[in-house]
Structure formats: structure tokens, C-alpha cells
Symmetry: C2
Subunit: 383 residues, 2 copies
Amino acid sequence: MSVTAASGFRASGVVAGLKASGNADVALVVNDGPSHAAAAVFTANRCKAHPVTWSQQVVADGRVDAVLLNSGGANCYTGSQGFLTVHRSAEHAAQLTGTSAGDVVVCSTGLIGEQLDTDRLLAGVTAAAQALAADGGPAAARAIMTTDTRPKEAVAGGDGWVVGGMAKGAGMLAPALATMLVVLTTDADVDAETCDRALRAATRTTFDRLDSDGCMSTNDTVLLMASGASGISPSYDDFAEAVRALCADLAQQLLSDAEGAKHDIAVEVVGAASEQDGVDVGRAIARSNLLKCAIYGEDPNWGRVLAAVGTTQAQFDPQQVDVSFQGVKVCVAGEPGEPRDLVRFDGRDVSIRVDLHAGPESVTIWTNDLTVDYVHENSAYST
Amino acid sequence: MSVTAASGFRASGVVAGLKASGNADVALVVNDGPSHAAAAVFTANRCKAHPVTWSQQVVADGRVDAVLLNSGGANCYTGSQGFLTVHRSAEHAAQLTGTSAGDVVVCSTGLIGEQLDTDRLLAGVTAAAQALAADGGPAAARAIMTTDTRPKEAVAGGDGWVVGGMAKGAGMLAPALATMLVVLTTDADVDAETCDRALRAATRTTFDRLDSDGCMSTNDTVLLMASGASGISPSYDDFAEAVRALCADLAQQLLSDAEGAKHDIAVEVVGAASEQDGVDVGRAIARSNLLKCAIYGEDPNWGRVLAAVGTTQAQFDPQQVDVSFQGVKVCVAGEPGEPRDLVRFDGRDVSIRVDLHAGPESVTIWTNDLTVDYVHENSAYST
């Protein structure tokens, strides 16, 4: 039930005609309260789309009443006309849902550098407002899909309260968010500060550690809204863990639907001197096109792992590093270890483990292989 | 004539049986003097192959008498046995050419993590020493090829002196060198310090600005040897310009032979506040898999260019940036400019120009598109 799993929320997804496919492309999620606490994290890209710069202002005071989302166009690099489109659509959604534009977050996804058809978008907002329903979560989740092959929804929670969410994204999953829109809702009674703290902690070890293709989007938004409708205030730890679990679930769904990928790769870095070292090493490995091609070819090419490790400034001694593929330690202390023939690639999941022997920290970065289908899909996206 | 274009050098390339293909795989280049000045630059990768750590010591005193090169194995992550192989092959080459091992540079290229067959290598060194000839440059250039489809050779020079060179490399061309071996020879009478200064200046704006696939090799070496056999000492500027021109020529040959590439892309960054900003922005663009796929699909997807620019810390205002493809300014001041339909992709060369409007500096980074053939070639390399 995704964003309508928590009480106090209504949602909808409708066809506005922004997508050439004729599929649903406008979604609306409304928080009916009694509370309207919210927090969000946005792309770290310095080239941000208009909906992101708008929404950063909306969220700043910790209150969000509704979120309007569209696929079929990112509304990014669209100049003053594009900014006007965001403003007008937020105004329209606010009017129809009885709130003010300054409390409406806007999210867009699709091609960059093209104007959205404002008439179609506004008509879509009208239709979405009319379609709002307490079981509208799945329709909303479908309406935000782009190259996703399936909607992503998840639910987690505690005793008498829940957190539910939806996500879209199938590429550009890195770093620090990706062409990724995520809306989380909860009926727990938590204030905006708690939402912010729990959300940042959760994204740091989930979405921020996805690195599908090393590309960072201009539109990424992860929004958490709390209605307080359950009347229950969980402990911070319980709440934070539920938000983390939800983000981890959605992140894995994004990973397993990454454009053209044949394998999901968990790059586990252990023995790092610091968490940052672990992240740096994991990311360097996850971004090696040569390694990602090797995994596509089911080749445990540990030399490409070490070549990537060597590009970082992390603390390690090249003659101490171990590398395992699928549990087989093919490199021990920088030399050939167990025979690479022992490595079996069965199914979609691939495990790469690197032991730096430099400290106590462990970090896992998730990525995908680089495939012929990835190239096909991304060479034909806008044409 | 590559490395034997300059007088004072002999070279050879022979079949030692290191490559399964049966193609030539051991090359030797000997400087017969009278001078033996030399300089080299090596991979910035912290995981360096044994031949690199060996050769760094050899070059330290500014004298090199010979360079032994092999394809068919990188001798990297091969432990103490691998180091012994380097040492023994250098000793053997030194003995056969009447010098000392401490003046013999060793370069290896091929798969990482596999031992070289020492018997075959040493027999190959014997054969290579016997085959040394004043016109042996082309044979040497062929013997260092791996996935290269053709040998790379070039000659430049001035009045009565020349610089010649050979290169191999067809992937991992980044940053700060790549699976790239380059040997340059000159009969100009220049000292080691001049060689070092000219070589570093040349590589900084040529090989260091190639970024084929974002991957950095463990074995890269660019070596310059001067015999002084012409008896002519050119001015520093003349010499440096010849070395630069030679490096630029070889770099373009490497680029145009990059694994599986369909297009060579020149990413020109103008209006940068500093050279480093230009390099950072150019590299970020050159490493965007999404953009590289778009070029493969001949799609002038300028949104992916700006998304890459936004990941850097360079000085720029997103609302001031212009982007041109093939001379068509498709993005002006962060908004759609001329119609993307005007962009024509004819032939192999693609030009992307980004104007940051932040300062006077210009930098060009060269890269390739990301193609189905790249994925095929790199998913099957070691198997």
C-alpha cells in the first residue's frame, strides 16, 4: 500500500499525457494530518532542477502538506518558464487540496532540457486531486515510473504505527541519491526534527551507498511526511530503525531494477581504517567500468578490483589486501590465492569482499554490472 | 621508424610464447649512446606492478641503457616470484647488451595476477637481443600490442635531430596515464633533467588528458631516452615542443584505437576559472557513462553534460553555462538553445564544448563513447 499504508494520507496516480506512452504520469500524495511534520534530502548535484530548488524552500520550515510528482519530464534546465511551471502546478495542487503552495513539495523526473506541457500538467493535477483515495498508494507508485520495469513499494513499522513508501529510479543511482524519487509516509507522531534526523541517518547507509552507474541526477528527492494519525510516538531508535529498514528495502528494489543490469553486486569493504575510507574504496570499485564488464562476463577479475582500490587515498598496504569473489579468496595479501576456477556465478547476486587490513570499519556499496543492455537503453533514451 | 628513428638506438620484437595468440610479445630497445640520459613518468595508481617499482629505481639516477618490454602478462600482484621475474629478466637483458641490470627499465602489459612463464621470457630476451637492429623500431612496436588493433608509432624533431616513439594501449586510458606503455627516443644531446622537464610538461597536456574509460592501470610507463648521437643540443623550447607533439600524436592514436569505441570525443571546457577546474569538469563529463552511451546513440544529450558538470567543485553558475555539440549551441545559459535536431554526427569525431563563463582557462579532455563492443571486449578479456 506504499504511501497510503500509514493512516492520515490519501494518494492518486493519473494519466496527464506527459508521457508519450500514455501511461500514468502525475501523482499526488496528501497528508491529512493532524500533524504535518516533514523532512527531505535532495541531490548533491550543483545543477539542480527547478522542482528541487522549489522543494528545498518548502521543506525548510519542517511542514509539508502534499507532494505533487510527475514523470515524463524533469523540468530541469528549462529557465524561467520551467520555474513558473513548478510554481503554477504547486499553486494549483494547493488550491485543490486546501493548503498553500508553500507547503507543497514538487518532484519531476524524465528528460532534462525540455519544457513540460503546462496545460496537460495542470489538468493532470486536477484529475489527481479528484482521484485522491486512502488506498491510492499503488496508483501513485505506478505514475512516477520512468524506465522502471515495476513499481517499488515497501512498508515497515512498529506497534500501532507504520512507515510506508514508494520509489522510482532505474539508473543514475549515485552518489548521494540518484534519478530517484522517494516518498515515505508515517502515521507516527514525530516532529520535523526527528524526521530529519532519522531520514539522514537512513539515507546515509542505504540510498547513498547505491552506485549503479556513477552518475548523479539533478532531481533526486527523498521526502518523509508524518501525519501523527496513529497518536503514537515511538522511541527515536524504533522510528529510525523502521525508516532505515524501509529505505534499505526500497534501495534494494531500485538496485535490482537498474537499467539493463544482469547482476546486482555487493561490494563489501572490511578492515577499513575509517568509514570514509570504506566508502571511498567501495565506490572506486563500484565505478570501474572494466570490473563491471568483467562481472557481466562472470569473470572474477580481481586485478581490476585492486587497480580500482589503488586509485583511492584510503589507508592500505597493497601487499596486505585480500579479495574474495562469491566467498572464494582469489587474492591473498596482494598475490594469487585460491584458484579463480572455484568461483561460481549462480543467479543475479554477486559478492565481492575486499579486506584492507587497515582498521575495524566495514562498508557495503551496491552496484550493477555494465551490460550490453545498459548501453542500448541509455543510447536510445531521448530519441 | 618509431624508437629507431633517432640514431644511437637499436630495437627488436620477437615471439617468446607469452601470448596464446603466438604473436610477438617481447621487445627490447637499447641506447648505444654516447649519452644515456633518461626520464620517465609512471602510473599514479598506488597498486603498482613489479616492473613499475623496479623501473622507478632504475630511472632515479637519470641513466637508462635499455628497456625490456613484454606483452602477454602484466606481472602485477604476483608476489615475490613476480619480483624475481623482473629482476632476472633485467639481469639477462643487461648481460646480453653489455650493461648492468640497474640501468635496464622493464615494462609489462597484459592480465594482472598471473605469473609470467620465466623460461619463455628469458628465452625471449635472448632472441630479442640477437634480433636488435637499427631498423627494429616497427618490430618492437608490434611486440608490445595487447588489444591494440594496430601499432602506434610517431616521429617529430628539428634540424639534425629527431624524437621518435612507440605506444601501446587501448583501454584503461585514465587518469594520469593508463594501461599504456610509451617509449620515446631522441638523438638530441640533452641531459636527464631536460628530459624530465620536457616529458612531464608533455604528458600533463597529452596522455594525462586522455580518459577513455575512467580506469587507471597498474603498469603505465612513459620513458624518454636520449642518446646524444646527433651531437646537437636543441633549445629547451624546441626540444620540449617536439616531445609534446610526439606525445600528442601518440595519444590521439591511442584514443582512436580505444577498445570498442565508435566515436572519439573531444570535451573542450572553456571559460574555466583555473586549469584545474577545467580538468575537473572535463574529466567529470568524460566519465559520465550516461553521456558516453548517448554519444554512441548519436544523441546530443546536453542534460547529461550539465548533470556531470554539477558533480564538480569547479567555479560556475548553473544558469550561465553554455553547451555545444558539433558547434551547435544546444544549451545557452542553462536553458535550451539551438534545436538539437541541427546537430549532425558525421564520422568518428565528436566535439562537445562547455563554456563555464567563470574565467580565462581552457582545457580539452579526450574520451570515447561507451559501446556494446566495449562491453563485449571487456567482459571476455581474461576468459
